[in-house]
């Protein structure tokens, strides 16, 4: 009996859209190359064209948020274990760095970051294990609760953590053994050594922060993308699509799910720690629910399950929140809580109305299935065109 391809005369014509061939497969396994090359260059040379140091400072914050979003995505967008308390990992990293800076100033910046990664990863393991058997809503509640519990923990040790006021005077990236020189070198490269040398120390610190965060972000996002678009990323996705089927395919579920949790936590911890070193302070906002929601919003508008999508979303949202909204009306300046409130409201509206092409990709990715709509016809159509 031959085993060549057998034509099946009874096979029905392909429903709705014809298979689009190799391009579909490619898009799954490789991101848009244009963005991939253009974005880093754009970001690298931005300071050459933009003089506004306040704006650059916020772009640097955006860069850190790219890391927050990317680390969230490798877990929630890929394995479908949607984390509603990502701030827990971020804040853990940030506070680790801050506490080390406060109590053990002899510890180098780089070592502090390593510690941040380790502690955050440990937390990821601690939470990941009980959460293995949790599905959607329960996982959401659990992760939300953990972040809240960490806020309480911060209050309990108020004297060490500074409670509501947080910790100030964290050693900044400029003081770093590696980060300082790297940041400076890049600043001189882009701005020119004379221009950089002529700047005030504060402005120099802004440029150094800008480039250090950029370098770390490119490395992290690059690594996560290599993972996400590679073999392991495919396995992670399969877990999101159907855990039982993945097991039947021989996938060691626990190892992958837990691994994603720990990786996500470690990356978030690193980003959080770096953020502390860029801002020079840490406070409770890094553990708050608001931050967790903001990251979800970023992923929602950027497109979860692609790493690069949330990255773009991060810049847009952060620049909006920290720069442009402040300049629009005094209301936002005096009452910063209105900003997240406005975003929340927008998100709600978008989720209810669900304009085609905007939110469905996110929900599709997060719930691991085709269209959010129940009708089979829509499912066919949506999955035909909804790849990011």
């Amino acid at each position: 009996m031959t085993s060549t391809t057998v034509a099946d005369p009874a096979e029905p014509a392909a429903p709705v859209a014809p298979p689009t061939g190799p391009s579909r497969l490619k898009r799954l396994l490789r991101p848009n190359p244009l963005i991939l090359l253009a974005l880093p260059f754009l970001l690298l040379y931005l300071p050459r064209f933009v003089d506004n140091t306040t704006l650059l400072q916020q772009v640097a914050v955006g860069t850190v948020f790219v890391m927050f979003a990317a680390s969230w995505d490798i877990l929630s967008g890929y394995t479908g274990q949607v984390n509603f308390g990502h701030a827990a990992f971020i804040g853990t990293g940030a506070y680790t760095v801050a506490l080390l800076s406060k109590y053990e100033p002899g510890v180098s910046n780089e070592l502090a970051l390593l510690a941040a990664v380790a502690v955050a990863a440990a937390l990821g393991l601690l939470i990941g294990v009980p959460c293995l058997r949790l599905k959607g809503p329960y996982l959401a509640l659990a992760t939300l609760s953990v972040a809240g519990a960490l806020v309480q923990l911060t209050f309990i040790y108020k004297s060490q953590t500074g409670g509501e006021d947080g910790i100030a005077g964290v050693k900044t990236v400029v003081d770093g053994a590696v980060s300082g020189p790297v940041g400076e070198a890049l600043s001189k490269l882009v701005l020119g050594p004379l221009t950089f040398g002529a700047l005030t120390p504060f402005n120099q610190y802004i440029y150094v922060s800008y480039f250090v965060t950029l370098v770390v972000m490119l490395l992290m996002v690059g690594g996560l993308m290599a993972l996400g678009y590679g073999k392991r990323g495919l396995v992670l996705r399969s877990i999101q699509q159907d855990e039982l089927a993945a097991e039947a395919a021989g996938v060691p579920l626990t190892r992958y799910k837990l691994g994603a949790f720990v990786l996500s936590a470690a990356c978030a911890g690193l980003a959080g720690g770096l953020y502390a070193q860029v801002q020079g302070t840490v406070a409770l906002n890094l553990l708050a629910v608001d931050l967790s929601l903001l990251i979800i919003i970023i992923a929602a508008f950027g497109g979860a399950g692609s790493i690069i999508g949330p990255a773009i979303g991060a810049y847009i949202v952060i620049l909006l929140q920290n720069y442009y909204l402040d300049r629009s009306t005094d209301l936002f300046l005096e009452h910063p809580e209105l900003k997240i409130g406005t975003f929340a409201l927008l998100l709600i509206v978008v989720l209810i109305v669900q304009p085609r092409g905007l939110v469905p990709p996110l929900l599709q990715k997060l719930s691991g299935r085709g269209s959010p709509s129940r009708s089979a016809g829509a499912t066919m159509a949506e999955s035909g065109g909804a790849q990011p």
Binding site: M1, V6, P15, R237, Q241, E247, A249, S383
Partner: protein, 243 residues
């Protein structure tokens, strides 16, 4: 001759209900065994116990003499026991090729994964649909994909759960050919099926179950004529569904 798979007094209780009752049989390497029984006879439960998707309340399941009971599900698959699902479970948003690549990756396969995945798709006749999202496949193709995915785990023992359910006559024909080819290539098969006629053309041994226990085990025609089987499964009407 040592058996490939042994079920040893496998019992599975759910609270007060005994779904599988002291089932014992063994399957030799290279055999093709059919498992039949009315709905509720315990086939699926037994199936799940044999494949590591459920743990028996008592008894043992051994592959080449080694108990499968303590193994994690993915380890059972790695040991060489693969299964398909009665209601197909593809990875809906992944292309067909990717569906088959996952088990290859999980199994630590080296080399050109895409090519190896294509080879598996070729075996089941799905190579032409490699780039389609699996959500766009017909039922028959989805069954073939189930099988492709199971094959990609390089099993020594393949358990098929009602592979012909929901398929047209021609689709059954195509699938049967593929299954027969698998057998020729050396895979041992256990097939749960309701479509007796189609099943009998694939297997050389039939195990019949009723209310959790094995009521007949042996040569297909003999089992089909066994009065206990006729009463329990065919409802006394005594004619084999030849579809």
């Amino acid at each position: 001759m040592s058996a490939l798979l042994e079920a040893d007094a496998v019992t599975r209780r759910f609270g007060g209900l005994t779904a599988v009752n002291e089932v014992t049989f063994s399957v030799e390497q290279g055999a093709a065994v059919g498992l039949i029984g009315a709905n509720g006879a315990g086939k699926t439960t037994l199936f799940n116990c044999l494949t590591g998707f459920d743990k028996p309340t008592s008894g043992d399941v051994r592959l080449r003499g080694k108990s499968l009971l303590k193994m994690a599900r993915h380890k059972v698959v790695r040991a060489g026991v693969a299964r398909t699902f009665q209601i197909v479970k593809p990875f809906p948003d992944l292309p067909v090729l990717a569906n088959v690549m996952v088990p290859l990756i999980a199994g630590g396969t080296k080399g050109d994964l895409k090519a190896q995945a294509m080879a598996v798709l070729d075996r089941v006749g799905l190579a032409a649909r490699a780039a389609s999202p699996s959500s766009q496949l017909s039922e028959g193709d989805l069954k073939r994909l189930e099988m492709a995915r199971a094959l990609a785990t390089k099993p020594v023992l393949l358990l098929l759960d009602e592979p012909f359910a929901g398929l047209s006559v021609s689709e059954i024909g195509v699938l049967s050919d593929t299954i027969r080819q698998l057998r020729q290539d050396g895979t041992t098969l256990i097939v749960v099926e309701h479509k007796i006629g189609s099943l009998l053309q694939l297997v050389d041994r039939v195990v019949a179950m009723d209310q959790g226990a094995v009521i007949a085990d042996g040569e297909p025609q003999a089992v089909m004529r066994d009065p206990a089987v006729v009463t329990a499964y065919l409802g006394g009407g005594a004619h084999v569904d030849t579809q």
